[in-house]
Amino acid sequence: MKENITAILKYLLYTGIFSTTLPLVFYLLFKKNSKEKSLRVILFYILYCIFNEALSFYLQSIHSETFLILLYSFTILEFSFFSLFIFVIIPDSVVKQIIPYLWLSFIIFYFIDLVFVNKGRGFDSIAMGIECILVLSMCISYLFLILRKSNNLFIYSTFEFWVVITFLIYFSGTFFLYILAESMRDNLAFRKQYFIINISFNLLKNLLLSIAMTMKLSNTVKQQKNTLPDLDDDFFISENVNFPN
């Protein structure tokens, strides 16, 4: 029985690792010739995920300190990729202006937390939790703005929408996992659950990203400026005309 579970977990692990390549396959099949900025950002994110998965699989067993550095850098780069993606696709608004500052604040906070609070001891739940909250907030802001400014286009048939919901679902699903991870790292049952939930949501993320690759790209809806002049009555009424009181 125990052997069976270990075998299932092993298969799940391999599936999780190999699923990372699935969005890349779909990219090569459907979006190879597209040169949209948003697509490029996601492509680099996918490539980075593949690189990270492969390296962490290799390093996990032999070198735990390098594995931790990989984990920390993944948080920063994942957040950076997503911030850049949202910045590219979000319609002009206050949120768009805030994103660069938000990104910078998180990076500064992350380094301070890593150096002075966590001190490189291991999994950093606070930073991961904050990353989740920021990503979820950006996803919700995007959905809200796109709903307000959308034209007749079916937004749920666009690449951008599917990428946003991918991150929304992935970070919603792993939020509790990350905030509990630091305090529960010695709990064996939790570690198993962490493993299963993390791999499951990773799998779901890769599947949703693959679906996103089959969707069409859309330009963000731009605000139309009102070009009508503000007309004053004096502009029209001749000075020679006296209107009755």
């Binding site: 919901i165 929304l168 699903g173 659950q193 002049p229 009555d233 009424i237």
Partner: protein
């Protein structure tokens, strides 16, 4: 969090929390999708209504053309027809057997009737295309029209063009003239106004015409209501002409509620 952990156990907190967040995310996505579908349905409805409105305007335009044709037919049949028939009676075959004085009298009468017919046909022709507009442009045509209204003595009509250095195209001038003519006719028929004043000015790439009057007028909402309703053929014609001009028309009342104003905005096309 630690309270929850001690009461429910780590597994329960993790699983419930993860499932809760997951379903919240799914609910959010569903709301977005359903809202979007509703917006699309609503937009389609608006599009359908717009198409119906276009149909109505087209029907009104055709009806107006038919009425115009009937009017011209009636003018020709009722006025020009009898006149020419009378002239023909004077110029019958028996005329050569008549006395020279009678012949002269008959030819003179026939000539008189033919002159009247020419005048009548000229009037019909002018009502179709004002010669002043054709020869001297919109400003002269409107001023001419307003002078005629003034001459009746019942209403004070004036027009002032501020910036007409760059004229509209012939087609645009005719359409604007027809719109103003229709507006003025409506004011004369329905508003009991004491004055009508028209001003013209240009700003950017648009030309503006504003008709002021102190009678009973209509506001934008009345205009839109009439435009969608079965009545108000003249207003429907105004709207269809404004559409052809790719312009805008606005019905307002001034802040002091002393006069109504109708503003027409026309994008300028170079005069050919």
């Amino acid at each position: 969090m630690s309270f929850l952990q001690s009461t429910l156990g780590v597994s329960s907190v993790l699983i419930l929390g993860t499932l809760g967040m997951f379903f919240m995310a799914i609910t959010l996505v569903s709301i977005v999708v359903f809202h979007q579908r509703r917006v699309i349905r609503f937009n389609k409805q608006i599009q359908k209504m717009e198409e119906e409105r276009q149909q109505m305007l087209l029907r009104a335009s055709i009806q107006f053309q038919e009425e115009e044709r009937q009017r011209i037919a009636a003018d020709l049949h009722d006025d020009a027809g009898p006149l020419l028939a009378t002239a023909r009676l004077y110029l019958n075959e028996n005329l050569i057997h008549q006395e020279p004085a009678t012949q002269l009298q008959a030819i003179f009468s026939a000539k008189q009737i033919i002159d009247d017919s020419i005048q009548l046909i000229r009037n019909i022709s002018h009502s179709l295309m004002p010669p002043t507009l054709k020869n001297f442009g919109l400003e002269a045509a409107i001023k001419d029209q307003f002078e005629k209204i003034n001459a009746s003595g019942s209403i004070n009509a004036s027009a002032r063009f501020h910036d007409n250095r760059q004229r509209l195209s012939d087609e645009q001038e005719l359409l604007v003239f027809r719109v103003i003519q229709e507006l003025v006719t409506n004011i004369l028929k329905h508003s009991s106004a004491g004055f009508i004043h028209l001003t013209q000015n240009a700003q950017g790439n648009s030309v503006f015409f504003r008709v002021h009057h102190d009678g009973r007028g209509i506001l934008q909402q009345d205009f839109e209501k009439m435009e969608h309703g079965s009545t108000g053929l003249g207003l429907k014609n105004i709207q269809s002409r404004i559409r052809v001009l790719k312009g805008k028309i606005t019905f307002e009342i001034d802040n002091t509620h002393t006069y109504y104003k109708v503003t027409i905005e026309v994008p300028r096309l170079p005069y050919k």
